[in-house]
Symmetry: C2
Subunit: 461 residues, 2 copies
């Protein structure tokens, strides 16, 4: 299976699994107990807290572990609002926050608070001045995500924070923690371990020293009084270990995934008619891309992709059971129907992307076929056909070229991506023999690939 | 190490570990997703819910999974009170509930509700009429534990429930779930998986159909809208598997642990002067016993026991960091100082109890020594010495008898517990040779043992 839904949950990182197994042996006891196994669990917990604090760029005593990212958001928002209730009960958040933020804001409003929502542009981004313009004298909290969970657009967290004065900013870093450095300027930070390859059951709520906070829940002495309930040491140890591992791998892996997403962003509109790729093409999460296909039911397309072994998400995340139109896409003013979100786990092979792009046009066409629509041709398919022969030895690249050149019209171009040195000789030779026109070489990056050589053939015969 | 603190947390049951490992492979995806791995996680979650419901004796759709027993208690209490706010905001609970209940009640009172606390007798038990007498027209919820977490006394849940009329009863079954059948009469039930050998991170909140409930937290569609946040499928699968396994083993294991606790209850006052064993000696949890030693700091004794390889708990559970006097012992009107709680995990070998009872008198005496007190002799040591030679082949029982008979005064009794058939011949023979008096056989259960034969020797020479 090709799992392209890491924004929902990431497969357990191998380091997390090792750490979990070890911590089930070494850290299973109650870290509040004074006997040896309890003290050992406490030491593992302390070390995990240090690790998470170091990666997030804060002090260990600012970090509390929650049971989920959603719990971190709820406690963070309600705790900050309760702590600052003398200032007021006004909350500002962006229109494209995660549903946990929106639902908490609904609860705040139902309990007599007031809420202002900052609009976003067509890329899904707030502007710092527009966001800050919503502040009032009674504003007790502002909430802004580090990056959007549906379209990948990065938010201007630092610029926004700089305009907020005394109002604390809660940054929901669920989609970026581990992958990208945490932006400066936060007073409260939330994240979720299972998004970075840690186990389920661990969220992070960091609260800067000096930020007023009062627990919205009944008292409990654990986790600095912020998160009630028995502390899940083995899972926390595994979460910290995977956070460190993912962060260490991020620089190289981000560049690779960024290029794969570029390829999807470029090729999908060339392969599928009436499609809109959304979100910022550059200032975005490295691994996430969303597009919407006109006339298509996202759930049907998701089911077809699942049948072919692709796990992707559709519609608003966290509400797949209802599949109501995504509030994120609605706020951006972009197409919401036939929505597919691709979010790539670390290590996704390029071949999986190739197979996805090979398959997608047919699946979308199949879904649309019963409608009998006369759709315009997509931007690129009839004129240019890209054949990914990376890793294939000659004569395979030439065989594929011979089989598929008739898919482009006379005058159209076939691009063969190959990394077998023999292709450089064989492809021009084949063109000569078959009266096709060899048009020279191009960079693989012109076609969304990261390596190999692009050989261009103009169909002449 | 001898781990005697299963009431804090149980070591992971082997079945739980197996199930967890398997579910990390099979059930890691988001159960809300529609693709194959998501559906697979959903199926595992559904099966786990069925298992837990079956063991607890309710419907699967009445069971929600929380992140901890504390969260289950908080959500259960606040959710039931919110759901019945038209009836009123009065809460009744017993004086010996877990701190999570007490802290939630404090929050209810701080938010304008009112709370009545039912007293307990010297065994730590409420009476149903006294509890029910606290009901008022505006009583919205009653809370009663199935069994006390510090002294093991079982509560009269069914009799109490029968007197409550329309008022829903929340039963906190954290200490008994898996070990004992769930008592009838509950409207809401809470439990915690790590107490029965499941992993940390899983609590249970069951709410009977028809019981009014309104989530006290922001909306979230997961777990029937009762528990926000990503669902921890692997841990839930492991929790359900271990619940089933523990329940299946409970009948035989309970009887064995009950006898071991009987032995501790009987022998500690014989071995240690000025000690009080508390809680109901009969109608109690099978595996848990608490005693308090006058003139002793519980934390110091705990540290000494830890040094000798025994992990026990002291003082009020969940507040070991503060070691304030236990509210449970205070409500019972019994001694709180020098408090030690022993709670035995399944499979505890009898030899561990023997070693504990051998060691305890010296440790307590050492702790008390600097005080220079002139303490009365304990009830039994000087007159009767019990030697556990179970599993030891002759001549070891006779050697031990010869070495230690002088520990009792002339006229005192040595009891040799042995299961080697040769002892029946050798012990009387040794008595003849050494001019001691062989006084015959007794049942092992007379001395808190479950098997073997008790040989009685009166010291004569």
């Amino acid at each position: 299976m090709s799992y392209f839904d890491v924004a929902s949950t990431a497969p357990l990182h191998p380091v997390a699994r090792q750490a979990l197994t070890a911590a089930l042996d070494e850290g299973w006891a109650d870290p509040a107990r004074l006997y040896r196994s309890g003290r050992q669990a406490r030491m593992l917990l302390d070390a995990a807290r240090e690790t998470v604090a170091e990666v997030l760029g804060c002090r260990a005593d600012e970090v509390s572990f929650t049971a989920s990212g959603t719990q971190a958001v709820q406690l963070g928002m309600l705790g900050a609002l309760t702590g600052r209730r003398r200032t007021g009960r006004h909350l500002v958040h962006s229109a494209v926050e995660h549903s946990s933020v929106l639902h908490t804001a609904e609860r705040v409003a139902a309990d007599g608070g007031s809420v202002s929502v900052a609009p976003v542009d067509r890329q899904g981004r707030v502007t710092a001045p527009e966001f800050a313009a919503l502040l009032r004298d009674d504003t007790a909290l502002a909430v802004l995500q580090s990056a959007n969970h549906e379209v990948g657009t990065l938010q201007p967290v630092e610029e926004t924070a700089a305009l907020l004065g005394d109002v604390p900013l809660l940054v929901d870093a669920a989609q970026s923690a581990g992958r990208l450095p945490v932006p400066a300027g936060w007073s409260l930070l939330t994240a979720s371990a299972h998004k970075w390859g840690g186990p389920a059951g661990v969220g992070v709520l960091a609260v800067r020293k000096g930020v007023r906070y009062a627990s919205p829940l009944p008292a409990d002495e654990r986790e600095s009084g912020r998160v009630p309930g028995y502390v899940n040491v083995p899972a926390i140890v595994a979460a910290a270990a995977s956070l460190r591992a993912v962060r260490a791998e991020a620089e190289t892996e981000n560049a690779r995934l960024h290029a794969l997403v570029d390829r999807i962003r470029r090729q999908v509109p060339q392969l599928v008619p009436e499609v809109e790729v959304v979100g910022d093409p550059v200032h975005r999460l490295p691994h996430l891309v969303t597009f919407s296909c006109l006339y298509v039911d996202g759930e049907v397309l998701l089911t077809e992709l699942d049948r072919e072994g692709f796990a992707v998400s559709s519609g608003s995340s966290c509400t797949s059971s209802t599949l109501t139109p995504s509030h994120v896409l609605a706020a951006m003013g972009v197409l919401t129907e036939g929505n597919i979100r691709i979010s790539l786990p670390p290590g996704t092979p390029e071949a999986d992307i190739t197979r996805f792009l090979d398959l997608l046009p047919r699946l979308v066409a199949d879904v649309r076929a019963p409608l009998g629509l006369d759709l315009p041709a997509p931007a690129g398919t009839t004129d240019t056909l890209v054949l990914d022969m990376l890793g294939k030895r000659c004569p395979l690249p030439v065989i594929e070229l011979a089989k598929r050149i008739t898919e482009v019209p006379i005058g159209g171009t076939v691009v063969v991506l190959a990394d077998d040195a023999a292709a450089r000789l064989d492809i021009p030779a084949w063109c000569d023999m078959r009266s096709q026109t060899y048009a020279g070489e191009a960079l693989p990056t012109d076609y969304g690939f990261t390596h190999g050589t692009a050989y261009l053939i103009t169909r002449t015969a």
